[in-house]
Symmetry: C2
Subunit: 705 residues, 2 copies
């Protein structure tokens, strides 16, 4: 049994701080549960009074002459600790603290909250809150919340679960969903998350038989790995997770910088994690509920991202095609047999996709339903939309078509049929009961189904098989990180990790430089090496395109002299001689340790694209080669590698390999490495080469170019 | 009186093809008008029968023994021409043809339609359709349509006008609006637009006293200038135009090409025209109605794009701030006096913007209304949003706050107060009557107000004063376009138009080249000049960085020889000697003649940004310098001109001047020029220089590099 079970399924509840006033915070949960008909015993606890809202009341938990499974605490802050101690002593398995005024207020509050969490932890008691708006198990009518949203809107049982940190967010979602007639299985507001957090609730709900889809809202995340695991578990269980995380526009500002350090650790990392773990991030509450609605009607993801559109209006068809194109859905062409069948039925139809039935449909018996059936029969498209204007507002006239469409839907149980029309609630209910979703706005219908189709794809690419990583081998070895603070040291470690580093020699004399250059082959590059010189170009520390031994000798002297002059205190380790490479396309690879989610790999193009266009993408380390290839697809500049303007195509396999090796290195040294910047990696027609690299250790100094 | 007045305000109507069956196409308009109570006489015309739906019927228009002001024709195609002739003979001022089967079907239909239009034109009769779903003047109950949308939804009078080509689009919008309780002034479906088009309807509605906001939908546009003038007229009249144009994702594909020819003439030109002319392009019908709703409640644009957010929930506040940031709204900081006032009221508030009242607000009398008032009093922000969860669902509890908020709104009649909450229709109506808009979804509320704030800005930048253009002078002269098919000729014309062209000489001997180079100063560039060589680089026709006279002489011989070898048929005009310029930032300027809207100016960055990131923007020619500066702001790569990574800032004034001169040249020669490509224009620390230019004349050959 999941350890959160006692929180959602108490066999008895003590409400500590219960109020006789059904409008007060301590009175509302009691009223909601009494009115709702909670099936287990409730024991109100309050110092004053013998009965509260008609129930026998107790002066303390210890007075209760029955076992108590869960305590719900809403006394003021000063009384909370005692209430917790009493509850633990009474033998509860779970505690909810609704009282606010803890970690969200000040240091004292933080300390008291930590102390209470520690008490619970030691006793093996799970704690929700403090500062929680409460918890609902709708099927058992356990309405343990003081949210006034329940005043006007009685909870309806359904298959949507809602887990949110913010109670206000929960109330908003609950209210909007209820007005739309959507029902819930469980709702939980985790508040300050002294113990139970949203991630663990998702983990629980992934197992909950009453829950088929999970809506969630985060303000922060304490344990990135727990969240990842919970999201993947839900995805594997076939339960979409629609997870909101506010603060997305900070990303816009921060992402304007090229620095991986400031790019990662912000909002874009959440996008990445949600996508990797098979979840969807809605941009608005309404979008979340549109998707939840479409899934509730037929609790299965569309089998693919192909869609068909049947319409009686060319304009609306194009509007839907526009929206589909922007959201990753595809409208394949109707196959010839399908075209023929459509034209046999409606000779004036535009038998394409969208399939425009034209006004002719009104004079052909079963015109609408047979057009939809034709499309379903002649394709394997996951979703078919039918735009039917306002026919649903005239139930009597629509009855025949409605029955025909239901029959078509039944004949294709693996496919999604979505109607876009104005209609009455009764018509909607009848269709929904048969798995047919109904939307009023064409654009919203397409958006919701596009999100579900994206979840199909994400679920398919969840967790690439371990064998793919094993086959690459060797990436998890621990390497000696001594000396990584110089370019030379960083490159040596990266070469050992399997990254392509060109042959380079650190030389301490002009003669050694000439010898190294001769061995490498001309032309070469010479760079000053010092742990104390962070920006080589500032001291003129790089000389390019040296053509012969004489030039290389002169370069050594010149570089050492410049460095001594401009940075007299710097420790000079010598001069690095490297081949001068021409051609190829420059990209940037990086790693940044996100405080929540650990090492994140970054890939972007060289030049100005990262900074001007935020043309970068992120992925969790380590990366399978499948994920690395996906990463390439998420960056527009990757097109530059593919034979841009007649240039030869670059060696993408070498780039994918470099990304994988870098990611494995980052994962194997996650405890040591703060960041890695390979800028640039040059991808050539054959192979790739790290031209510069910077590794920063945690708490340590960095070397920069 | 506007020439469309007789179409919208007939003093009597003959319905030709009227049917006794109120469900048939010829029966519905009659039924809608009889049921609705149309105030003027209706004369049904039908060969069979004496009365139709209770009205005296006539066998032909000529039989009608009263004057007839307008004819509505819904007879089958073969009878339409006779009906039109009869109506003209009877003296109508306007004709609607609902019958379909004309230009939308085949060449015969096109010819018949043109013929009928010609008949009407000669008679001075305005024609709506054919293939029109009809026209509604809601205030006079002139419901001349066969749309079944009116079966369930009786038209409500209001201030929204709707002009659409597609009848289906009109029905969809009408239906969704009606379910939301939005009312209309006029609705018109222009169908095949043989005469009256959407643009002219907008022109009419801009004058219509019953209309305060115009919704429109286009599938195509025949007369770009008429549309521009109509949109500007509506904007100047303070009537927002929300105009949909489907087909926007074709733009995505087409815009991926750098070629101005394929970039312009497509969807992005509509975006440009709508923005220039003060209109808004919604992406969905729902978005259009959200904006219309917000404007109907208080028919004035917000005074600026600054917004304040008052909320009891931090999370919802951030959600709204996210959306605002993405839509061009700004959340300025609350000024210190405002902060103090907010904290005096609610000591625990987060007195910022968003202003989080926290749960404390529930215990402070007038907490909500005074918070909102504080924000309005201490700022000049155009719009203040208050997120109030679900309070509106409990009208009795909310009554006091509602009255207080209405008082606040009345005290600030120039400002916009928008509530985001769940509420009952009665609560909504009471607030709306006082100019307070109510939205359920926080994100949609922000999006709607962001659109209105954008319209404020567009209206302010409408039509820069003519003096700004006059002051620049000289741009409208007609130039001799002979010889523009070569680079040399194109540059000479552009130089004459005031564009910065470096000193260059077309030379026909090696000696002349050396002389020219000496005069210009070394190093120089040499390029082959031939009207028959379209891509100079393909024949090795460009030699860079020539350092002395000897090199220049050799270059002449080399270029002529290469060209003779590789293109023996080409007419060689000689070699162009130009200065070799270094430094500066390369941009692309272009002009393309859009078939609908005339010459459009394009500006983008050099390099790959245009192709990879569609980092280009368009504007109508001619451009004022204000518009040219706006154009720079719409291209991200413009940042490269502003001291990128330590480089010196470029001469933006020179770029603005070049854009203005190019646009004036394009406008003055709109009858001759097909396209101009200046690629690149180098913008330097001082001045700018066209390094290459191609001008293509209409119907003529082009020169390319």
């Amino acid at each position: 049994m999941h350890s959160l079970h006692p929180l959602f399924h108490p066999s008895s509840v003590a409400l500590i701080g219960a109020s006789s006033d059904p409008e007060r915070i301590g009175g509302r949960p009691l009223r909601f549960m009494i009115e709702g008909g909670f099936e287990a015993p409730i024991y109100p606890v309050n110092k004053s009074g013998d009965t509260i809202q008609g129930l026998r009341s107790y002066r303390s938990v210890s007075e209760i002459d029955h076992p108590v499974d869960q305590a719900v605490i809403c006394v003021p802050v000063p009384g909370v600790e005692a209430a917790v101690r009493d509850s633990i002593a009474k033998g509860v398995r779970a505690i909810q603290i609704m009282t606010a005024g803890f970690a969200e207020i000040d240091a004292d509050g933080r300390a008291l909250q930590a102390h209470i969490a520690q008490l619970c932890h030691q006793a093996g008691v799970r704690l929700l809150g403090p500062n929680s708006l409460g918890l609902l198990n709708v099927h058992t009518r356990f309405f343990s919340t003081f949210s006034t949203a329940l005043n006007g809107l009685k909870p309806q049982p359904g298959v949507i679960a809602l887990a949110t940190q913010s109670g206000a967010f929960g109330s908003a979602t609950y209210g909007m969903a209820s007005l739309r007639g959507l029902g819930f299985s469980k709702i939980v507001a985790t508040g300050n998350e002294a113990d139970v957090d949203v991630a663990e609730c998702i983990d629980y709900l992934a197992e909950d038989p009453q829950t088929k889809i999970i809506c969630a809202a985060l303000e922060s995340c304490r344990d990135g790995e727990r969240l990842r695991q919970a999201l993947r578990k839900a995805a594997r269980a076939g339960k979409p997770v629609l997870i909101m995380k506010v603060g997305r526009t900070e990303a816009g500002a921060a992402a304007a910088s090229t620095h991986t350090g400031s790019l990662a650790g912000n909002d874009v990392v959440y996008d990445t994690i949600f996508a990797e773990c098979g979840a969807w991030r809605p941009q608005s509450i309404e979008e979340m509920l549109d998707i939840a609605y479409a899934f509730c009607v037929q609790p299965a993801l569309p089998v693919n991202a192909d869609i068909g559109v049947v319409t009686g209006s060319g304009g609306i068809g194009v509007l839907m095609a526009d929206e589909a194109g922007e959201r990753g859905l595809t409208l394949p062409a109707l196959p010839p047999a399908g075209r023929e069948a459509a034209l046999a039925l409606l000779p004036f139809a535009v038998a394409s996709n969208p399939l425009d039935m034209t006004a002719q449909v009104t004079s052909v018996p079963q015109g609408v339903s047979r057009s939809v059936a034709t499309m379903l029969e002649h394709t394997a498209w996951g979703t078919v939309f039918a735009y039917l204007a306002h026919v649903g507002l005239s139930p009597a006239r629509f009855a025949t078509t409605q029955a025909e469409l239901i029959a078509v839907a039944r004949a294709h149980p693996q496919r999604r049929l979505v109607l876009v029309m104005l209609s009455t609630p009764e018509v909607n209910r009848a269709l929904q009961a048969e798995g047919v979703a109904v939307f009023e706005d064409p654009s919203r219908a397409v958006r919701a189904m596009a999100a579900l189709a994206t979840l199909t794809r994400r679920r398919e690419s969840l967790d690439p098989p371990q064998s793919a990583r094993d086959a690459q081998g060797g990436g998890n070895a621990r390497l000696d990180l001594a000396g990584v603070e110089t370019e030379d040291g960083a490159k040596r470690v990266l070469a050992a990790a399997g990254l392509p580093v060109p042959p380079e020699h650190l030389c301490t004399s002009a003669d050694a430089c000439a010898e190294a250059a001769t061995a490498i082959g001309f032309p070469v590059v010479a760079k000053i090496v010092s742990p104390d010189i962070t920006h080589k170009t500032e001291v003129g520390g790089v000389l390019l395109d040296l053509q012969d031994a004489q030039a290389v000798r002169a370069a050594y002297d010149e570089l050492m002299q410049r460095a001594r002059q401009l940075r007299p205190q710097a420790r000079l380790e010598g001069v690095l001689i490297a081949p001068m490479l021409r051609g190829g396309v420059e990209v940037i690879l990086g790693v940044h340790r996100d405080p929540t989610f650990g090492p994140m790999v970054m890939y972007g193009s060289g030049g100005t694209a990262v900074e001007l266009f935020q043309d970068v993408a992120f992925a969790s380390a380590p990366l399978s080669s499948e994920r690395a290839r996906e990463l390439l697809e998420r960056v527009r500049s990757t097109r530059l590698l593919r034979g841009w303007r007649g240039a030869p195509a670059c060696d993408e396999a070498a780039l994918v390999s470099a990304l994988c090796r870098l990611s494995e290195f980052a994962a194997a040294h996650a405890d040591r490495i703060e960041s890695v910047d390979i800028n640039p990696l040059v991808v050539r027609a054959q192979g790739a080469a790290c031209l510069d690299a910077v590794i920063t250790l945690q708490g340590g100094a960095s070397h920069a170019h």
